[in-house]
């Protein structure tokens, strides 16, 4: 048969037919171009494999995943009557699906296929050809021995609930919610704050187009609020998540607003008349004030205010009631309580966003100590026409217009003392600020202090050139310190930015009136708790981990849980929107299929062996094992089981079997993978 496919397989090694288990295994060793073949002697592995028990044919081939490679397997299954297939190539996470499908095409149950990972865990992890070849043989042997014990399995199907939960009402979450709602599916949008819009709602202009943020965001917020397919739950938090892809049950707490939403018209009279004025640390990031009954901004969606019980005179001292008195519709309800809502959804999209790095932590820049040092978000609020200064660029006294402004890049980012990563969006925001200062204060001089200008988006570089042309000074150097300690008369009364101008190689002291710190992005303080709640992973910095950084950026390792926007890593608006849409598309695709095929890797209990000890009952994290009091045996509810195998390993009667990871399969693989570790040259005697 070799003669028929000489161009495809250079070698085919046949072993004696009639193997011990009567199973007929085909082994295929992939060169992966040079990726494997350079380090592993693939021909040798294939030849050796051909001599192992049960192996009917073993071949090596340039690219097993190519259509020709797959056809090779299919042909052998049909012509040689193979009933097990082993491919030694890359990670099963890369191509297991490919080869299973090929087996299926040839009429072989896909679960009679096994893969040996000799690339990621072999050729790519060492230069030692001899050791890599030996390790590859062991992996192949393990896979073959495991394969002969495999059993055909049928996939499970679960129904997909067409409702979706989106957590987070920033631009990524809004986009995802609208996409799904427009596709005709129902969405629950849960937002922790009292209104939606996220960080974007605080911005004035967006780079590089200088679109007004409110002009492009407000219509989307209104759409969300009015969409018949969207249930908007603001001032709400997810408490618990149960179930699995297609069938999640989510409990949400709607915190009391102390405003009856049925009656409130959003007129704002209560806000106006509230006598308590406090610094708004949330929406105004500390630069402005709000009342004890408040809305983040006048166009907030939803329009209902919320009462801050910590500062409200009535809640603190039992008197005042000014809001209640002035409300024309009697919508104030001091007795309102938190309520709980249970949602049934098929998929969950997390779009919980980021927090701004706390600039106080870089104490040499003086934020919090030197009045005229501002954070980038403070400056966003300052230049916003709806912000605390109505868009005027002024110093902390609220009056003086700065003549010299220094913008410091990479505050908390690209710094191993804080965050090693680049926050991506700050360079462009800094350029935008330079432009806005020039626009609002034409006579002002602006200095940008940068390490590298990262302008790698559509029209970003062009925007950089525009800001250069506007006469902004660019000084390449990471700022050493900001101080108000003057060294001489020329520096009195100003802030001094001390920096090495690295392009000149000299230390410089630049006096300015105002400093803006481009504080980077960091993950939410509670990101790890949120990840645990929804069952997904976080990386070192607290960003949610996607399934694949390049090829699967919005799906997580947990089926049915998706991520979008800056909760997965620092992002600007365009990328957040793209991820929101992508996540929605993935969910819509799943809903469209109505059912989802699931791996049949599930536990089952042999009732005749079960002793009824109930050890497994409490081990199962999904409550998938019930106990039948009448028969005194436990049973696995297949739909709930996720296949972790904890119960299988714990059962003292060996009554539980984990499909595709049975005890004899794993033990056989252990034996096979250690084929060369036993000492063959001696016999063993029992001790005297």
């Amino acid at each position: 048969m070799n003669a028929e496919t000489p161009d495809r397989a250079r070698h085919a090694h046949h072993a004696t037919p009639g193997a011990e288990h009567g199973e007929r295994v085909g082994v295929y060793v992939c060169h992966c171009g040079h990726n494997i073949a350079n380090t592993v002697a693939v021909e040798e592995v294939a030849e050796w494999a051909g001599q192992q028990p049960n192996v009917i044919v073993a071949r090596d081939y340039k690219f097993m995943c190519s259509s020709l490679g797959q056809e090779l397997i299919e042909q052998d299954i049909q012509q040689l009557g193979l009933n097990r297939v082993v491919v030694a190539a890359c990670s099963p996470h890369m191509h297991e699906k490919t080869f299973r499908t090929a087996c299926q095409r040839a009429g072989l149950n896909p679960y009679l296929f096994e893969m040996a990972n000799i690339r990621e865990m072999g050729s790519w992890a060492t230069d030692d050809r001899e050791a890599a070849t030996q390790k590859a043989k062991a992996q192949v042997k393990g896979a073959v021995d495991r394969a002969v014990r495999q059993q055909p399995l049928e996939p499970l199907y679960v129904d997909i609930n067409p409702n979706t939960l989106v957590v987070g009402g920033g631009i990524a979450g809004l986009t995802a919610a609208l996409e799904l709602a427009n596709a005709g599916y129902h969405v629950y949008l849960v937002e922790r704050d009292s209104s939606i819009g996220g960080h974007m709602a605080k911005l004035d202009k967006t780079f590089p187009t200088l679109d007004c943020a409110a002009c492009i965001l407000t219509p989307k917020m209104v759409d969300v609020a009015n969409h018949p397919n969207i249930t908007l739950l603001t001032w709400s938090e997810v408490l618990s998540v149960h179930g699995y892809v297609g069938n999640f049950t989510v409990r949400v707490r709607k915190k009391a607003r102390f405003i009856n939403e049925e009656l409130c018209t959003g007129c704002g009279t209560c806000v106006e008349k509230c006598p308590v004025r406090i610094i708004d640390q949330n929406f105004e990031v500390g630069l402005g004030y709000r009342k004890a009954v408040y809305r983040n901004f006048p166009q907030a969606v939803p329009k209902y205010p919320v009462i801050d019980t910590e500062h409200c005179t009535f809640f603190q001292r039992g008197k005042c009631r000014a809001c209640e008195i002035v409300c024309p519709t009697d919508a104030i309800d001091f007795n309102q309580k938190d309520t709980f809502v249970d949602l049934e959804v098929g998929n969950i999209i997390l779009a919980t966003g980021y927090e701004q790095f706390d600039a106080r932590r870089v104490s040499q820049y003086g934020y919090g100590r030197l009045a005229n040092v501002f954070t980038s978000m403070e400056f966003e609020r300052m230049v916003n026409a709806a912000g605390p200064t109505a868009g005027r660029v002024v110093l902390r006294d609220g009056v003086t217009v700065p003549r010299r402004v220094g913008i410091i890049h990479c505050v908390g980012s690209r710094d191993k003392n804080h965050h090693e990563y680049c926050s991506r969006a700050c360079c462009m925001a800094a350029l935008k600020f330079a432009h806005l200062v020039h626009e609002r204060v034409p006579e002002a001089e602006v200095f940008n202090f940068y390490i590298d200008i990262r302008a790698s988006g559509k029209h970003y570089e062009e925007f950089y050139h525009r800001v250069l042309a506007e006469g902004t000074h660019f000084i390449r150097g990471r700022v050493a310190e900001v101080t108000d300690a003057a060294r001489g008369p020329g520096e009195e009364g100003q802030l001094i930015i001390q920096v090495e101008d690295t392009l000149i190689g000299k230390q410089r002291r630049i006096p300015v009136d105002m400093v803006i710190l481009m504080a980077g992005m960091e993950s939410r303080k509670d990101a790890r708790q949120v990840a645990a709640l929804f069952g997904l992973g976080c990386d070192y910095d607290g960003w949610f981990t996607e399934r694949h950084a390049k090829l699967d950026p919005v799906v997580t390792m947990t089926e049915g849980i998706l991520v979008a926007g800056a909760c997965q890593g620092p992002k600007a608006i365009p990328e957040s929107v793209a991820q929101g849409s992508a996540a929605a598309a993935r969910v819509a695709g799943m809903i469209g299929q109505r059912v989802m095929k699931m791996e049949p890797v599930r536990a089952s209990i042999d009732a005749s062996s079960c002793s009824g000890c109930r050890i497994c009952n409490n081990l199962c994290p999904y409550h998938a094992i019930t106990f039948h009091e009448d028969r005194k045996v436990s049973e696995v509810i297949t739909a709930l089981c996720q296949g972790c195998g904890a119960c299988v390993a714990a059962c003292p009667s060996a009554a539980i079997s984990g499909a595709h990871f049975t005890r004899d399969q794993v033990l056989a693989q252990i034996e096979g993978i250690l084929w060369d570790a036993r000492q063959p040259e001696v016999l063993w005697l029992e001790p005297q």
Binding site: Q364, C410, R414, D415, K416, N417, I451, R476, G477, R478, V479, A480, E481, Q498, V499, E500, D501, T502, G505, K506, Q507
Partner: protein, 196 residues
């Protein structure tokens, strides 16, 4: 962290500096951001900022680096090391470069010619007495290295003496022989390491 493979791609001089440092200085991580040069109190007086010096080390400019006054102007304030976003041990590199300059005989040629003499005088005193002896240090340093400046320092010395802040004779430690034995052994170990 530098691996042997990544180090093999650096200049000979770069490897020499890393090998001379007491612990890994993480020099290969330099981003050339200039935080060190901006933070340095004597930065304006250096002929190269520390950042520039690191680029020169990477480029293998042995002569220019060892002739530079930069390490000698280091005041050991550790601002650079504290602020460095790549956690490079800059102050240690400066000490290392001083030692290399002395060993290579460049120290007299730097634009900070006084510094090596002061350091050596100090070391001699400590090796002989176990503790520093300010009067001896100052008089010997000025008389042997800067006779013309000795007059300038005289009022200070007199002031210290008047306020009983200066000893007239050194006070050696009791077990000076033990210290000398330890330092001699250290010298031998260092010398043996140089040979291999």
């Amino acid at each position: 962290m530098a691996t042997s493979a990544s180090l093999s791609r650096t200049s000979d001089f770069f490897r020499e500096v890393v090998a001379e440092a007491p612990v890994d200085p993480r020099l290969e991580a330099c981003l050339q951001c200039g935080t060190c040069g901006g933070s340095c109190p004597s930065g304006p007086d250096m002929d190269h900022t520390p950042r520039a010096l690191f680029a020169m080390i990477a480029a293998g400019m042995r002569d220019a680096v060892l002739r530079s006054n930069t390490p000698w102007y280091c005041v050991s304030c550790y601002y650079c090391m504290e602020r460095c976003p790549q956690e490079i041990r800059i102050t240690d590199v400066m000490y290392t470069l001083k030692r290399m300059a002395i060993k290579a005989g460049y120290s007299a040629q730097t634009s900070a010619p006084r510094a090596p003499g002061f350091a050596q005088t100090f070391v001699d005193h400590v090796e002989n007495y176990g503790r520093s002896f300010e009067l001896g240090l100052i008089t010997r340093y000025y008389l042997s290295h800067r006779p013309l400046d000795a007059l300038k320092m005289a009022p200070l010395g007199m002031g210290l003496l008047k306020r009983k802040r200066l000893d007239l004779s050194p006070r050696p430690i009791r077990q000076i022989d033990q210290l000398k034995a330890i330092l001699d052994r250290a010298r031998e170990i260092d010398a043996a390491a140089q040979l291999t």
